[in-house]
């Protein structure tokens, strides 16, 4: 089994088989991040294809010792934001499906989280976020990256990331309370966060 650094070096030297294995290693995360930013799997797959082709052409410039994942995340985020911007009204205004069927998520058993409902809610509410707020939220809260890593991926200061996160959480909380009250504990309903008024 090749380790990741060996795969990267071999792919950078033009080894297609190594590149294919590298794609297989990274594709799930790339597609997942792209999907949470673009809002659907189809656009995410287009973004991922663009990302991996850019990777193929750019691997020769990758400097060993740097974080490959940070670099890959940055390419992914930039391509996904470009996709959101280029899709214009289609991506931002068109009503989004309420069902989670498009996510291929099975119905939950009792006690289990309704991931389809959560995916649908996020897809809908994330349209109220600026692309950078959405990106910061996806990388930090969904992908679990540390704030410092998110800042490196986005090429901004950590304080800027924290500010994007604050704004994103506020918009999402208000959206959940307004449109998905069943997901908000009764004690919190009717209370607006951070002293905001409606």
């Amino acid at each position: 089994m090749h380790d990741e650094a060996e795969l990267i070096a071999a792919a950078a030297a033009g080894d297609r088989s190594a590149f294919d294995r590298l794609v297989r290693l990274k594709r799930e995360r790339v597609v997942r991040v792209a999907c949470r930013i673009t809002g659907n799997w189809e656009d995410a797959l287009d973004v991922a294809q663009t990302v991996f082709l850019k990777l193929w052409h750019g691997l020769g410039r990758f400097q060993p010792g740097r974080s490959f994942d940070t670099w890959l995340h940055r390419i992914t985020v930039n391509a996904a934001i470009d996709q959101v911007r280029s899709s214009g009204p289609r991506g931002l205004v068109q009503p989004l499906p309420e069902s989670g069927a498009a996510d291929g998520i099975a119905a939950p058993a009792a006690e289990e989280a309704d991931l389809a409902l959560l995916a649908s809610a996020f897809r809908r509410l994330a349209h109220g976020l600026a692309p950078k707020q959405r990106t910061a939220f996806v990388l930090r809260e969904i992908e679990g990256l540390e704030v410092a890593e998110v800042a490196r991926v986005m090429g901004v200061a950590e304080s800027t990331v924290r500010n994007h996160l604050l704004q994103a959480r506020r918009v999402l909380r208000r959206g959940l309370e307004r449109d998905y009250p069943e997901l908000v504990p009764p004690a919190l309903r009717g209370t607006l966060p951070d002293g905001e008024s409606s």
């Binding site: 950078a12 030297a13 033009g14 297609r16 590149f19 294919d20 794609v23 297989r24 594709r27 799930e28 597609v31 997942r32 999907c35 949470r36 799997w41 995410a44 797959l45 991922a48 294809q49 991996f52 082709l53 193929w56 052409h57 750019g58 691997l59 020769g60 410039r61 996510d103 291929g104 998520i105 006690e111 289990e112 989280a113 991931l115 959560l118 995916a119 809610a121 996020f122 939220f137 809260e141 969904i142 992908e143 679990g144 540390e146 704030v147 994103a168 959480r169 999402l172 909380r173 959940l176 309370e177 997901l183 908000v184 504990p185 004690a187 919190l188």
Partner: protein
């Protein structure tokens, strides 16, 4: 030790990936912990989306599409900016050396003292030596085109070239 982990740790930093994955898996199965997480901040419920994987057939299709879209032929490492500048500098030095050789081959050997260094009118000299450098950068190759009077030297750095 409590049977339930603290779900609000999902909203904080310092969880390593395996710990986070285990905590997410628990919260996804446990309504009480989801309630605690939502009470901390309902937007943190979206962290559970980290458990949602793309459809497997979509990932296979992606791999096929990526491989099909790769340009044909082998690919060597692409010239980085630093290496391109280095190649250009080497080419300019080479061009200067060649220019010097051409110049000397057309001039008589110096005789006597400094006064003899002047060039006699009857000695054939190369026509004025023009010197130019052009860099072409198409998608898969860099070309450096050096012209020295009638002599032209073209350096090709082509990542798609198979030898």
């Amino acid at each position: 030790m409590s049977e339930h982990p603290d779900p609000t740790r999902l909203g904080r930093e310092g969880l390593d990936p395996p710990e986070r994955a285990a905590l997410l898996a628990h919260v996804a199965r446990c309504a009480a912990c989801r309630g605690r997480l939502a009470a901390e901040d309902p937007s943190l419920l979206f962290s559970l989306l980290g458990l949602v994987a793309p459809p497997p057939d979509a990932l296979e299709r992606l791999s096929e599409r990526v491989l099909a879209a790769l340009p044909p032929g082998a690919r060597g490492p692409r010239l980085g900016r630093g290496r391109l500048v280095g190649a250009l500098a080497a080419a300019i030095v080479l061009a200067a050396v060649l220019a010097g050789v051409l110049w000397r081959s057309g001039a008589p050997a110096p005789r006597g003292g400094p006064a003899a260094l002047g060039r006699p009118a009857d000695v054939a000299r190369p026509a004025a030596v023009g010197f130019g450098v052009e860099i072409h950068a198409p998608e898969s190759a860099q070309l450096i085109d050096l012209s020295l009077g009638d002599t032209q030297l073209i350096l090709i750095f082509d990542e798609g070239l198979e030898l």
